[in-house]
Symmetry: C2
Amino acid sequence: MPKQTFFNLEPEKREAIIKAAVEEFAQAPFEQASLTKIVEKCGIAKGSMYQYFRDKRDLYLYVVDLAYEQKRAYVSKAFAREGDIFSVLEEYYYQSYAFAREHPLFHQVTNKFWDNKGGALRLELEKGRLSRASDFAKFLDEAMAQGKVNKDLDPEAVFFVYHAVGKELIDHFDQVHSDGFFKRVLDVLRLGLAAREEQAK
Amino acid sequence: MPKQTFFNLEPEKREAIIKAAVEEFAQAPFEQASLTKIVEKCGIAKGSMYQYFRDKRDLYLYVVDLAYEQKRAYVSKAFAREGDIFSVLEEYYYQSYAFAREHPLFHQVTNKFWDNKGGALRLELEKGRLSRASDFAKFLDEAMAQGKVNKDLDPEAVFFVYHAVGKELIDHFDQVHSDGFFKRVLDVLRLGLAAREEQAK
DNA sequence: CCATGATGTGACCGCCCGGTCACTTCTGCA
DNA sequence: TGCAGAAGTGACCGGGCGGTCACATCATGG
């Protein structure tokens, strides 16, 4: 968390710092990002940065928080949506895409953040995953109870699959920008690979 | 590619170098891995390393090649297997798991390699992905023609999903070591989330 | 106007990095 | 045995890093 001094700054200076930091952490993962470059980019002395943040990690986590705050504003719309689990999931992926498109730097920050498997950030990461898992599990249980979802499936495996596919989609938003592709990917998950005897459409 | 000098070395020295390099590149991604630590670990002078390899990147790509060579020896068994596409896929995931279990350092090297989205390694990475995609596409087309696989699905989306799930499984082999879990994940992909009217078992 | 505490600064510290090169040591053949 | 070329070496280079600190500057209220 930033020190109080940071919040006492004139807004435009504060935002210049944020902008420079976001650009740097979007471009390189934590370990490779350069604090020196950040202070040069926003024109403050390096010592000043340490008036505002405890260290590089402190600044980084603050930026990551900002990014996830923005992202939450998008994806939370999905859960508010009326409809079955499939339309919620479609909306979830679509909102993730909208976030990536409208806040590309934040998007890259979040991407680089959960790529970071090693290092001291692992704990924060796992915490977020669990919270998302429980959100998803609620929807899934409900849909199973209603008979909309295959009861033979292992909920843990279902979450695993959706998490993996969502992650990969988000990872490749740059390349995969066809709206229809989301739907086709979701069709694969919904219908399954094995041919269906009933009319599936 | 290493220089000729490297292959002229006595085997035990050559393997000591390989061992040290594998350990280092298993522990950290390319940019964070330290050539200095490698030469210290295997007890040769830093200058000597430059008799064997052009630079750090040359050494790294050599190690990555070794790792993928080993991995191919495992996963290629899957395609040789008799049976439908689902049993081939199961075997593929299982062999990937066996590789990770029996060659954990190589496994970590490959993992860290295709995590590397930025940097100059991207081209090599994409090449590998395309070759795997075409292998998979062959099997998929065949299975669709035989009516074993849902004809309504987009083959590109199918590959995308399987690739994503495979990647995530491989990423988490450390945590997910239950044999049954593979099967349950494959069930999700095979059957799909939507409830089936026919008896699915 | 000055005193005081908060804020701003950039030269500097120690560390580690990939890579180089003048030099030594080894090896095998004439 | 001598000698040429291959192989081995480690001190050294320039550069970048995160972080520090003695000092300069500023804002405030007595």
